[in-house]
Symmetry: C2
Subunit: 411 residues, 2 copies
Amino acid sequence: MINWIERMLKELNLVESMDQPNGFTRLSYSEGEDRSIEVFKKEAESLGLQVSEDSAGNVIARWEGKRKDAPIVATGSHLDTVSQGGGYDGVAGIISSLGGVKQLMEEGFEPDCPIEVLNFRSEESSRFGVSTIGSKAMSGKLDLSIGKVEDAEGITIKEAAESRGYVWESFIEADKKEDIKSFVELHIEQGMNIEENEKDFGVVRSVACPVRLKVTIEGKASHTGTTPMNRRQDALVAVAPLVSFVSQKAGSIAGDEGEQLVATVSTIDLVPNSMNVIPGKVELGVDIRSVDDSLKHEIKKQIEDKCREIEDQHKVAISTEVLVDNDSIDLDEGVQSRLMEAGEASGLEGLMMNSGAGHDVMNMQAKCPSGLIFIPCKDGLSHHPGEFASLEDIQKGMHVLTNFLRNEASE
Amino acid sequence: MINWIERMLKELNLVESMDQPNGFTRLSYSEGEDRSIEVFKKEAESLGLQVSEDSAGNVIARWEGKRKDAPIVATGSHLDTVSQGGGYDGVAGIISSLGGVKQLMEEGFEPDCPIEVLNFRSEESSRFGVSTIGSKAMSGKLDLSIGKVEDAEGITIKEAAESRGYVWESFIEADKKEDIKSFVELHIEQGMNIEENEKDFGVVRSVACPVRLKVTIEGKASHTGTTPMNRRQDALVAVAPLVSFVSQKAGSIAGDEGEQLVATVSTIDLVPNSMNVIPGKVELGVDIRSVDDSLKHEIKKQIEDKCREIEDQHKVAISTEVLVDNDSIDLDEGVQSRLMEAGEASGLEGLMMNSGAGHDVMNMQAKCPSGLIFIPCKDGLSHHPGEFASLEDIQKGMHVLTNFLRNEASE
């Protein structure tokens, strides 16, 4: 099985070797995502699964059960990546889901209910700033108005989706009508908790959804050579202390473990960003996460207070806009216990933990009882060419998922 | 004459009204610069000047003198702008030079030597980070190797120039061979010294040329949601104190007048600049200017020391690269005195001062005795849509220049 995992890893990542210094780039609704999805479909068909696509581009690979109308046992993840990201985020989940089905087939298992492996289209937010579009559609949570959101080149989500052959208005028809008994996703941890606690896998209790702010600082652009230091309204100089503030304040709220809350100034856009012009305007993107929603709102307020202080000290105007404010998601407790049991049955030790990152499973939880398995990844590194999970750790995670699927789909 | 100034201002800026909220954008080697140059050529021809273009795209509008071989009296400026810049930077100089000739013609003046109005192509650095390309070529200071420098879209200077019909390798042939008696440029001050000293115009002693640094901070990109605060190598958090440091240190060196030295972090590029990824790499552009070269090197060293301190405090690597290190230029003392006299002869009061910004005149000083007249501009604002010089102030400056040209070109 480990050779199959290795082959799938390369094939789904469209490479001959996983050693890629510039990482993997398969943005939402790109040709790269399409090609990876084709690999998935081909492998699913070769396993004898019935492959179909819903109106939002999600692929459903179905293993028919003895009872065709019974609630479905579902599992899956995604195949798109961030720009220059890693080869395991999403892919490890697709491999484990497909591998779990393959294993059960090889055992001669006959599922009582249908088992479906789902590939959710366009999970990552790096192209449009909007994440999990496919699973939003499948779980009936999609708001079609996001179709007008643009990428850096001015292409909208609607245009990008339609360039791949879909019809944006039909995305809402992807809302899955059949009963689903449970949905489980496997994903790399993107952190170091499992490793530090010397466990084999993690089972997620809650998913920390972000509060995201756009902070706009308006100073005054003028000539770098002719504007005396004491007459400037430099928007970048004004905002520099805010970058330090967000990091320090989050660090103190986070506590010694550094995990209660995370907050990041992750984007910055300067106008005009020209060597001989004092920055007249700066836009910052701030990403705040915690499974404790009250902590997110506490730091949000402190950031806003700091902006007022900066406005008073520098001659600038600052506005803050809330781009995203999603409450954290508690996953199903029954699924959590059954996942821990499935792991223990394989002699593996699991860690109950939270997820700092959003995943498709948080949408599916609105549809059906859902769970999330984490597997370790090297140094917790993710969204980076150096992202790595060992074949052994992927296989261990797959064992947990396989046991879970067997239990769920048994009479 | 004031109506002519107003008409030329609009025509050279390619607008019906000077009230343009988004300013003026005629980048180096753009179609906009071409169109503005065509307006200039047409007006020069209508005045009866002989219009020619050198191999670097500089336009020479010549008024023949009684002695055709006598050293030339030259004046001029440029017609390109920064992105969303003002309508007076460069244009005020072209109008004054052409208006000076027009005035002398209307007086029936017959120049003893040739008078040339020069338009230098591509003075601004905002497209390529390289300034005064045309005057570098005309003064024999052009290094053809800069042809490979790219703009933000990856177009090189050579490609941009050749797209306008020039041959890059021929740019060196623009090195002007005839003797030039003097060259004078008129420009908006881009500062507030003239106004604060209640004078009518300025005469520049020295031009402060920049030291420009590229500072590259390498941290580690990772997921904003899953990387605990105490395990981050956030390049933006590391560099934020450097932005404050440059501003504070320059302010203290600059003194109470804020003018001895200016230093600006004017550009910032984040990699990946993506909402859910911790900034792994940041590049800063730092622009440092003073007519006192030792002060520029003092703050450069302090910035480098601060980088070492930041490297120790944060887990990042910082490298600094010197992009530009040009000594300041002292303009010709004889021309300075004659410009002051020319102003006083018109009943105008002049201020001897320095220039914080570079201009084409600094290249021409290497070729011939050169001088720079400043006229006031509102609030010192420049490289900004709000840049403004009154028609009256342009006309006063033109009087100084006209008197100077008359004196220079008399027997």
